[in-house]
């Protein structure tokens, strides 16, 4: 399935919203089971890039694009139904968004819609994904409680479990820790590190240090342009572009 270890291949991707040129021609390869950190200031196009990978930009009526994105060698706009794509490419949002349902029902929301209704199977999914998201021990005795009763950090791990429940290959994180305290952040990061052998992960973050801690490679976006992409350790010690250096050393952004 995988071509030379490449999971996602983006070729000549350009994105407009109405008249706004949000993403300039972008070529990028995302390797299988790597963690790619994506950093950059506001309006740099990093979230637009992320949302193009699960075709979430399509939700915007004014969205136009050029170029192609392929997942496992298949064009995501032509060869894969959008529902199938989003099952394979899960997303964790900036704010934790539990649905107004119990913890249990939050996790199995996806599987249920995809036709899994066997009670044992659903319980199995809940236990597995909550364990993977480091939430099981905290909630195992109160799975019927509303997901909205949990703390912010717990809610975000619940959302992570919900994403895992549809068994994705790729997980997109859109600033997943922007509203969380340091301990909750650490738990999410720990989960991400443990996922390395299972999922390809792309982390958009405002927190450059988080990218430095977690990711294998880091991409730096600025004003719709990919300025630089490299191994994280190299990027954060010897960036090849002066703008990258300015950004990660906190001179702007």
């Amino acid at each position: 399935m995988v071509n030379n270890g490449v999971k996602i291949e983006v070729q000549g991707l350009e994105i407009w919203f109405d008249q706004i040129y949000a993403l300039k021609p972008l070529n990028i390869q995302i390797k299988d089971k790597e963690i790619l950190g994506v950093i950059g200031p506001a309006n740099s196009g990093k979230t637009t890039f992320l949302r193009s990978l699960n075709r979430f930009n399509d939700l915007n009526d004014n969205f136009r694009f050029k170029g192609s994105i392929s997942l496992d060698g298949k064009n995501i706009h032509k060869d894969i139904a959008v529902g199938e794509l989003r099952k394979k490419v899960g997303m964790v949002f900036a704010l934790p968004i539990p649905l107004p349902l119990s913890i249990f029902e939050n996790v199995v929301y996806g599987p249920r819609r995809h036709g899994v209704n066997d009670k044992n199977k659903l319980e199995e999914i809940v236990e597995r994904t909550l364990k993977e998201a480091y939430l099981w021990d905290e909630v195992k005795d109160r799975l019927q409680v509303s997901g909205m009763k949990l703390s912010g950090g717990q809610q975000q791990r619940l959302c992570l479990a919900r994403t895992l429940a549809v068994e994705p290959d790729v997980i997109l994180y859109d600033e997943p820790c922007s509203g969380l305290d340091p301990i909750s952040t650490a738990k999410i990061e720990e989960a991400m590190s443990r996922f390395k052998d299972k999922y390809t992960q792309i982390l958009v973050t405002n927190n450059t240090k988080q990218a430095a801690r977690v990711s294998d490679r880091t991409a730096f976006f600025l004003m719709g342009d990919l300025v630089e992409i490299d191994r994280t350790d190299k990027m954060f010690t010897y960036p090849s572009d002066s703008r990258t250096n300015d950004y990660i050393s906190g001179r702007f952004g």
Binding site: D61, R86, K87, F93, I97, P100, R113, C159, A165, V166
Partner: protein, 283 residues
């Protein structure tokens, strides 16, 4: 007079308070007078018997039944049509000229005087489609009248469901329709229900739309089919108040009371539902 903000404050408060009380007054008076004058007429016989002696005696049973039939018929047409078009407008329609035109049309539909609906119903349903003056023609006319209410409240209910719920559902690969079915509609349902009840109370209380399309002057029997005419409470009230001489005032007020009770109790249910919904709202 010296400038005294404290006194100004007091005057402003008193004026605003007074205005509020004045608004309340007619409501209390209307309900008070109708209950006082109509209550003596209310009896089991009044509610369940046929009218007698040129509607001067007996009951108003056929008018109550007629109104209930009309409400039921109105909902049968307006509910699916209104809710479905609201779902389309909120969830599927792109923001373009056509959509804006449709929304404008709905707003205008809400502003049409009810007697115009009556004439329209007479022209289209009674005469052109040859339904005659019938429950069918009356229900269709009332349905068109309440459509904007149902569409508007349903749209508001759908729009009040956070966009993020839809995004979460879609991000899990769930289809758009399933997203609406499981992540939007359940949370919009109480709001939609409120709109339906408001529509029902409007349909039950209007006279003009049913005047030419269904209402019978005097028909002391129950309908056999949807092509029959029926008596209806608002029109019956009009008839015994203006068209029939020597009707005991207590019969008029009794009829008004029954109509008022039906409409008010529906509004009350709407209020209870809405407050329950607000309490249950968890986001």
């Amino acid at each position: 007079m010296k400038h005294n903000p404290y006194r100004t404050e007091k005057i402003a408060f008193s004026l605003l308070f007074l205005a509020t009380i004045v608004v309340l007054l007619p409501v209390i008076l209307i309900i008070g007078i109708i209950v006082q004058k109509g209550w003596p007429a209310i009896s089991w016989e009044f509610l369940t018997a046929m009218p007698e002696k040129g509607m001067r005696e007996g009951g108003i049973f056929p008018a109550i039944v007629g109104t209930l039939f009309l409400v039921l018929g109105t909902l049968t047409f307006a509910l699916p049509l209104g809710v479905m078009s609201a779902i389309f407008l909120v969830e599927y329609a792109k923001d373009n000229v056509l959509t804006r035109l449709v929304k404008l049309a709905i707003i205008n539909l809400a502003g049409v005087p009810s007697v115009v609906y009556g004439l329209f119903g007479l022209g289209i349903f009674v005469m052109f489609l040859k339904f005659g003056a019938s429950i069918l023609a009356g229900s269709l006319t009332l349905a068109i009248m309440v459509l904007p209410i149902i569409i508007t409240t349903t749209r508001e209910a759908l729009e009040s469901v956070p966009q993020s719920f839809r995004e979460v559902s879609l991000s899990l690969g769930v289809s758009k329709w399933q997203t609406i079915r499981y992540s939007v509609l359940p949370h919009a349902l109480p709001g939609i229900l409120t709109g339906i009840i408001l529509a029902v109370s409007r349909a039950a209380g209007e006279t003009a739309p049913i005047l030419f399309t269904v209402a019978a002057f005097y028909l002391p029997k129950l309908p056999d089919s949807i092509f029959d005419q029926v008596m209806a409470l608002p029109y019956h009230l009009y008839v015994i108040s203006t068209q029939v001489p020597n009707v005991d005032p207590k019969v008029r007020y009794g009829t008004a009371l029954v109509l008022l009770l039906i409409v008010l109790s529906m509004n009350f249910v709407a209020i209870v539902l809405r407050s329950k919904f607000r309490k249950k709202k968890k986001w």
